[in-house]
Symmetry: D2
Subunit: 260 residues, 4 copies
């Protein structure tokens, strides 16, 4: 049987739009605008069942998904959305057991995704030169028990990447072209880079430099997600959408012609 | 050093559009419209370097990615594209170590992706009631060394799903609503289903039935990917795109109100 | 020379986001959060030049476009956006000199567009069964000198359309299928209808009924517009967009097989 | 009554995908892969009714729309699609009675649209420096009785535009920035330009130059159209779409600050 125990991470969900991720602790309270919930009331209840607030509103008790967790992160910077991260996994071929370098930890949003998908047998090395960002990201992950396979590095990757024989380098900084040569050095032959940038200008510079450095099969794409609203007799796309986060460029390391 | 050995899977790539995935065997030849390559010539060469055809055209020797492999599958049916699969991974929270049921094996395209992302510690149970499809899918995977954690089941899942305590049920059949009750039974509380359908009518029926059965947090979306073409002075979206493959609906298992 | 005269319609524009359409009258003031402008100060100035507010902020004096004008309309209902109206003009072939029936006046947004594009030699008959909407729409147009070729009809078009030999019937009501038979009667042979609906369900019912009634060449489409932000070194799609307003279905009147 | 007469332009339509625009002449034959039609058989028939081929396949007899006509044009160059033209009409405020300059006649596709929408009271001046394009465009229009209000000018507009007091300048050449100063001279104050370009690099240069020259309210957008396929029980977006034709930039002429 699946029951909530003390110290479990729980997603409290009101069935509509309110979502709260909390570690269940005896004596703690979850305050909501629909009343409060004594955490103790959740303990021993079945996962998927409901608990009522002081005002009698029911909240579901769910296990948070990875996406639930990362959306609780403090995000001082723009983040790579699941829509982008999902296709990066497949296009850059990031899989369990792999060794991945991330350039630009930011808020740790993508770090958490990489960490989970390379899994316990894999490893993530994440570079961030701004100390406060690195610490915040580390806290974001550790608070929810994420990131045990992540090494947080307070370093500017445009000056060099320490690792070798890496499967994938993922880049989310403003000047990705400045790190491509180091990415090439760090990667295994046939290894991939994936770079995320909001503007066309960055895409262009990235592609030009990537070619020079010896990456092939360059491919740039943009992911758009439309939400669909469906009730019993009316189904339609949502009125608003996130129209743009950024472009993703991927490429693979080849041996430059002169050396091959 | 990374060198090509006999029996390695290799992606031969001409630097433009031609891609061939082959198992390197002494005595075999890769025939292309740009001349042939004696496989033997590839053995001992560094991964990422090139080999020349009989007509002097260079092909890169690369390690195929998962996506390279699945696009070699014979596909008698429509497939779930990487763009859709990538976001399904994140939205349905499919991660290493998980237990996943797939309803509708089809050509095994998504089966291979699920298999790789739940990893060696995870497990995939895939249902297909058409024998020839199941066998073809099995061959598609095994030919490339994929699917060691997959159980192929010649069964109609609309009559029932055998597994229990499943993390995620992924559905790719024409009548997903007929399998939702069984999916609910098979899932852990808080477990997810993800259903893929080309038409809005299917989405509507799926959402109605999913609500009835006891799924919550229903969310339907559509993923669009635009390719961007970039050369040194001209960057623009590609002229053509795949405008629609299907809609994805995800939901989570809750304990129905009357029971909770 | 183009100078502003008393009683001219003027668009006051601050060079950024503030836009005010006003009829210039001596003694009137335009109040803005950046100070006020005495209308008199605009009179005699060249179109395209600037005038300063009481706080010294410059506003351009421009001739309002049709789009500037309609966005000043009071809009109690959802409106058909320029993106949709523009393609309706071409797909339903609405041109100067034509006779057009509009079913569902709403706020008069589309009425104004139809009126302007059929021009002084054309004519628009617009049906609205809700008196307060019809009057508000009429005011919206007449306030800006629009609509001299429009006949406003307080009638429910689902009970019948009076006109005959019409070039195009444009429909923007919740149940377009209920007016298609009347539209067919009203249209010239080879005449077109264009129907606007937010949901897939409406599209489906409209297409089914349109076929039955004797319309051919049915075509449904959806228009999406992405804004692009460009400054000297950074060009990118805007982060947010209107993802959906509605679908447009067009068709042409043929003589039903049994009669032809 | 609407009947087909000799010398009428007729759209022959098989009810599916085949469309032929022809001038009906006694003695002529329309050859199709579904048999031939003697034109004489169409004369005297009602518009919207059908005529049968020698193989007994029925074709509808319709009045061609403007869009039907322009898609018959010979198109050596890329054209501005109805989706783009429709929004250009509204965003650049091109209406009956206006005076419009077109830079880059190309195949005359947009010329025909501009000509029809400014109507008999309006006028279009179209510039093309390649004689063979200009002649072909002229033929494209006159063959179908279009363009009586168009002046075709064999001139390079980057060297100057002759007209003054123009309402709108529409630009469809590879280097729009080279014509913006001339466009500014030609336009009325508050007049608009609209420029169409496939690449973001062109957009960026156009915006920079437009600002310098004295255009304000610059706005760049991209129009996407999704076709929706609907039959009685299955409605869905089409699988393929035209993902990109070009970006449109519009702006309005203001008096430069130093002069105002």
């Amino acid at each position: 049987l699946h029951v909530i125990r003390e110290n479990d991470l729980v997603l409290f969900y009101d069935g509509k739009r309110r979502k709260y991720v909390r570690t269940v602790r005896v004596g703690d309270r979850l305050e909501t605008d629909l009343g409060y919930i004594d955490m103790q009331a959740a303990i021993g209840k079945e996962v998927g069942s409901t608990v009522s607030t002081s005002k009698g509103v029911r909240f579901y008790l769910l296990k948070p998904t990875l996406t639930d967790l990362i959306f609780t992160f403090r995000r001082p910077t723009q983040v790579i959305y699941p829509k982008d991260a999902g296709l990066i996994l497949l296009e850059a071929d990031i899989r369990p057991g792999m060794k991945v370098v991330e350039v630009g930890t930011g808020s740790g949003f993508l770090t958490a995704i990489l960490s989970e998908y390379v899994g316990p047998e894999g490893r993530v090395y994440t570079y961030e030169y701004r100390r406060e960002f690195l610490l915040a990201a580390k806290r974001n992950l550790s608070r929810h028990g994420l990131g045990s396979n992540v090494e947080f590095k307070l370093k500017d990757a445009t000056r060099g990447i320490d690792e070798r024989d890496v499967d994938v380098v993922v880049i989310d900084i403003a000047d990705p072209w400045n790190v491509l040569r180091h990415a090439w050095e760090a990667l295994k032959p046939s290894g991939r880079f994936a770079s995320f940038s909001p503007t066309y200008n960055q895409v262009e510079k990235t592609c030009i430099e990537a070619s020079k450095v010896g990456f092939i099969m360059l491919h740039t794409f943009e992911v758009l997600v439309r939400d669909i609203i469906s009730d019993e007799t009316r189904t339609r796309p949502a009125s608003r959408m996130i129209a743009h986060t950024g472009f993703v460029t991927v490429g693979r390391k080849a041996v430059p012609p002169e050396e091959s």
